[in-house]
Symmetry: D3
């Protein structure tokens, strides 16, 4: 079976792919005819595809997030590759293909990511901080198994959020060893909690965010996480006014650094300063890595990257 | 007894005043001598005062927020009035003077302000919204009797916060009648809750803010109020994910309108849009009114007002 | 006759509508064929429509702002409703339909709006201020009967400008009663004059702005209104340097508050501060109300609203 | 008589100077003693001066903008020169000294500057434009003889405004020859009118601005000049809606280029674009020239210049 | 032969033109057909053109920057003119047409521009400055003969860069005479060097920029020119730390004035201040002139101009 | 000998200290008397000190950066400690005290820092990159032994620059191991070169910056380092247009990320993105660490830190 990223113009191929997007459109003919405007993907990449002359039944059969078997032809349209679908049918149980094999994923298995996050939580020495972090992780453990960290910005794939947290834990661990004035409990707690409410802010399937929830828009993941800390403390009978609890609120609330980036307060503890910059370092480098990974080796420049001042990244020839 | 704002250069006077600020300073003589650098105030205004040649005992006797009896002489120093204190002693019980008579206050009695706020709370038709608002008001009822709305920005005097809320309730009531698509329950709840956590954000005495609390700096009154809503809902057994609770969070979180002004989300319900603009209208007009009240009638221009693009306000002669 | 907002996919219908926009386009067929790309509206809303295979005569018969009788079919195209026009003809006198019944209008009759504005003018106590306001109103009285307040921003419909002024007069009246330090004459004058030159800044028909005038672009409505005040004072023999005249200039010039919003000076009188915030409060709430009115009840979110930080507004389910 | 800029530490000198600023201050002695804190200037520069132990009579005798004869001693105080006044008396008629000899002035005589401006006005070919410009110049001709262009920003000296206009006329003349698509009438009119209302915006004596007028603050010189154009057209019976008049308004209104710099509209005619950049070029280079002129030759760096991004200017050694 | 700008709807014509852009596209027919989507230009302007039913051979024959002979028909498509190509063939040597006759060019011949720049270089009195400028000019002399000053911003045509330099030299010469404190050597050097590396920053052919070079993107023309000064000084054995060399670096590095416009340092010498404003004045007026030249006389407004706050320019009717 | 940070009010003490700042001032007595206004420091901190009644000889004997023996008395002045100097004399050779023992220093010895930087340089695999880095390090090796990284911003102490580089090398090494797509040669080179020209941008002694050099102000350390790379490549005969050299220029030029922070280009290689964020992370955490170190343990809040959005940092009590 051919991977999407290996297809070249002129190829005829047959294989299983995921319908990432699907829209019924009409040609400009008079009268117009319906066709399916599709984005097909597998874990290696994605390509636009057209299924001309779609019947009423076709329009009812195919839908986004469905696995399909396709026979197609690769064409060039306006300097870009595009698939002309000759035959298409939904995948059946007998085909033995699994949805999650067809989406981009973090390079580490979700169960291992969750295990690492739980280990880090367990290693927090302070019992109250540990139990609050644990309470919040439990709330979203299922979703952490597959949620991305954002819609498009960075780590936008299967288990991207948990992967982001795990990489940050590694950096956090290094920074605590390099700079002993940092409190490792707060560093770990801040890293695990900073985006913990994102799975409730967005609706995602297979690592692909379809929309933001009402609560996500009206409250936002930063304030939601702050409220979960309050809920945890109340349920666990921890003093709401203790500096531990205030410190956890502060880490979450300040991690975007500036008001215009969504933080109602600015970092004012050593660990809050560290958290913001560890988060930024990991997110920016991941944007670079993701852009390089999904840009063909033959292209010296990646596409423009919104989060990097809308600049493209260049592969120096050295 | 002469009011501060009636003193003119050359007056000799005796009266009771409040020490608003006090610092022990040294003259530049060799060796330097200690003197008390004081700000004296009453409800009509304030003036700087010097008590030269302060003894060790004097330095231990006088302190900020203390009532004193003063015999003094009004001088002009660098084009401004200044009091030379000739005699000074702490006020005694027998003097029959009351602290609160010597500070600037809202023009309505605190008990009446609180009564109005409680009436407005009671008039909220939705039982759950009403009980959450009530829970939060109860938390700070004592402080609402005397807290200012801000350190210097606006309504910076005794019971200024409650007064701000009451005036906003009047505007809110008018707007709900003018525009029936606004939900009066949310308008009332938003007005009462929007600054409800300010008394925990700052430390104030007699309407004068001395400093921000640690929680005030690290969490901020907006997130604190949001967390109180969570606490109220948990304790009152109200669904945390109901749109009522989300709507209340949203009103509080968005009322500063923009991220750079401290709001992590922007107004996205009709009542949240209204709340921000009612808050602004009342605060800006109060800044104007306060500046006019404390500027002598003979001055056509008030001092510069930070919250009004740092402009002075002019009294047109018409 | 079916209202636009009641049409659903699959409906066949006949009725009178207004052509709001019309463009002759070509299909991509070889050779291309002409068709009419139309926006049909009535007072309840608007929908795109196509009239395929337009003849040369059709292209000469139909034009924007024309009333037509249409027999059509409602289709769904790219998730949005669209009308396929089967038959179309211009409305004739005998049809007894009136243009103004087919556009969105202020909810109060223009004559009543003008009456209210004239009453408010007449109630200005100062004779000079009153006569200047009157002079300016007279200049545009005809256009005030139907001009919108803006191209798209807010109150963008028939008599929207006069409606905006009347609602602001209500708020201004309330604020003068709540805060007696405000001068009612200046508040009324400021509200009536602040946008008085807009009808000369834009060209509008039936409440729909088609373009800005040369003077509108090179001078702008703020400076135009300021110059009208000068013209009024000169013609009425009022001292150009009196503080009354300066005060009126100031109200108009400062009402956008900031230079980047078009005001060459910032508000520096009590009434100028009030005027800006009353204007903002009314405009923002009208944006919300208009967005809610034109969004189907079934949609929880309105479209994004430019003037509200480009946020959508949500209907809370309570 | 020694020029201020030639005084060095240790000099004893006698001469006539102007009191630019004067404040009565007190020493920190107990009781404090009065002294005069003075800024002495002549056309070459200025220095701070102290007159210790001022008598009541001294305090009544000396005032800003008064000419005095001084015997003094030059001292160094905190690395800067300062004059200790030993003797001081007001200049008398018999001394034969003239105020204007003691202030910084444009390098061209005021009468010559006015002559040049009138010649340029007379050379405007269009009769209507010429008469409007003439009307406005006549309004302020007396003040043009001595007004500065700004309080401190640039051309802040005797006849600085007229000098700025004359230099701009030279550049404007060159640009019209280099780029024939520019209309010389509008270029001349724009240059003469752009700051024409500044003498009514500020109060100045001897080229030194003491304060802004009420009209200056509430209306501003840009809108004032626009209103003068209206007044001129009305009195001269020129069509207010002609493109000539609109063009003149536009030049004045747009010459600060951006809203945040005070222009309610942005340049949209060729001459308005040229006017803004000619104005900027002349003002910025004059700031540099003035800073170099008033910085001792021995100093490689001038002080920081607000209008040049708050940078100092360096004299390269080449 | 008909000039592009003289073509009107309905014309049939034959002539030679340059293919400025060319893309192979497909119609929406099923199956889609290929056609050539072309922009044809000559020195007077440009128009879109379609060549329907392109054969495989056509697709291999025509390419951007090729001269062609075309027989076509002018049609109106969406209110704009468009050419339907009936016949097309590449120009042959025998046709006697020259590429450079078909592109927009500076109004002065390239050899004359280069001659002027070399004369100005030769007139620099300081031998070291002169030789550094000369070294840099030599590096790009060939490209100066034809490079534009920018991709679209200003002077975007054949020899536009050299033309920009020559016009600036004229202004610089005038300013040095008006303000003798400016050093003419630095003014000339700054004008010649400020954009000298642009031909290495971009790839251009016939005055049309196709893309930025890798070095252009990663280093930028400002730093490239600064590095050329270093290279020149090293090769010419001039002291790298002399104030002459520092002064040249400074002129180049600061000429965009602000960091957000690309200058790592802000102007801090008299000549650097002058250079920035001469550059701006010339560029902005050229944008106006170019927009007027390429807008039909019948249009009162030019298109929006990015570099002029995205405003259009109006031709006043006077 | 008592450390500065251990002095408390009322202490009489004798010891050796460094004069960090010294100014001759006058008292306000009539006539004024000279005194020495001094800042005394040792490696633990600093305190203001006064030496009253300074003789002419005293004024010639003491100077900044001089070691002195002091007998003094600790007083409290305006709530801050201040030393009254009773006796003072310059330190003599016989005293056996060393300047560098009295200034704040990096916690690692300069020779060890230089050794680490040289080791990192030697470990760069690419010979050309290694030799360019080596060339630049050699230029400033002496100054690297003691220069701070900035005047006040961060690492403002003895060998602070080298220390900053060494800590960044540690982080860079970790990041290269965590993210193998980063090129370690460029990461090392970027870290070593990014601030390499700072010692030529500023003048510093004992880790204390006294001023910026002319070249520092007119060219800036970023462009200076870029020019050193050119110089190195020319002298080492390395192709100026190779992507290695371009890549090094890019790292240095882009490391401040944004134009308004001084970078003429934005990061566009993976290593440039990493360099900026590693630099920021290290600088910000060092600001926190330095602020905590120099704030007495008893103070919960540090002073405001300019580089951290002007926020103070809080020590949570946990």
């Amino acid at each position: 079976m051919t991977l999407i990223k290996d297809l070249v113009s002129g190829d005829e191929f047959t294989g299983f792919y995921l319908i990432k997007e699907l829209e019924v459109k009409q040609t400009n003919a008079t009268p117009p005819k319906d066709y399916l405007d599709i984005v097909l993907c597998d874990a290696s990449g994605q390509l636009p595809a057209k299924y001309w002359d779609a019947s009423t039944r076709d329009k009812e059969t195919f839908f986004p997030m469905g696995l399909v078997k396709v026979r197609g032809l690769v064409q060039t349209y306006r300097e870009r590759l595009q698939i002309k679908i000759m035959q298409i049918r939904p995948a059946a149980d007998a085909d033995g293909v699994t949805l999650t094999d067809f989406v981009r994923s973090a390079p580490i298995r979700p169960v291992d990511l969750i295990y690492t996050i739980k280990q880090a939580t367990a290693s927090i020495e302070d019992q109250e901080i540990r139990s609050i972090v644990s309470f919040c992780v439990d709330k979203v453990e299922d979703k952490l198994m597959h949620y991305p960290a954002a819609k498009t910005h960075h780590h936008a794939y299967f288990a991207g959020l948990a992967y982001h947290v795990v990489r940050m834990l590694e950096i956090g661990d290094f920074m605590c060893r390099q700079r002993p004035f940092l409190n490792p409990d707060f560093i770990k707690a801040g890293i695990i909690l900073h985006d913990i409410a994102k799975p409730e802010e967005m609706t995602a399937q297979l690592g692909i965010v379809s929309e933001y929830s009402v609560k996500g828009k009206l409250v936002g993941h930063i304030s939601m996480a702050s409220n979960w800390i309050t809920e945890a403390a109340l349920r666990l009978d921890i003093d709401l006014d203790s500096e531990k609890v205030i410190g956890l609120h502060h880490l979450v609330l300040s991690h975007h650094n500036l008001g215009e980036w969504g933080s109602p307060v600015q970092p004012q503890t050593p660990e809050a300063v560290a958290l913001h910059h560890i988060d930024t370092l990991d997110a920016k480098l991941q944007m670079v890595e993701d852009a390089l990974d999904t840009t063909p080796e033959s292209e010296p420049w990646t596409p423009f990257i919104r989060g990097l001042e809308n600049k493209a990244v260049y592969r120096l020839k050295v």
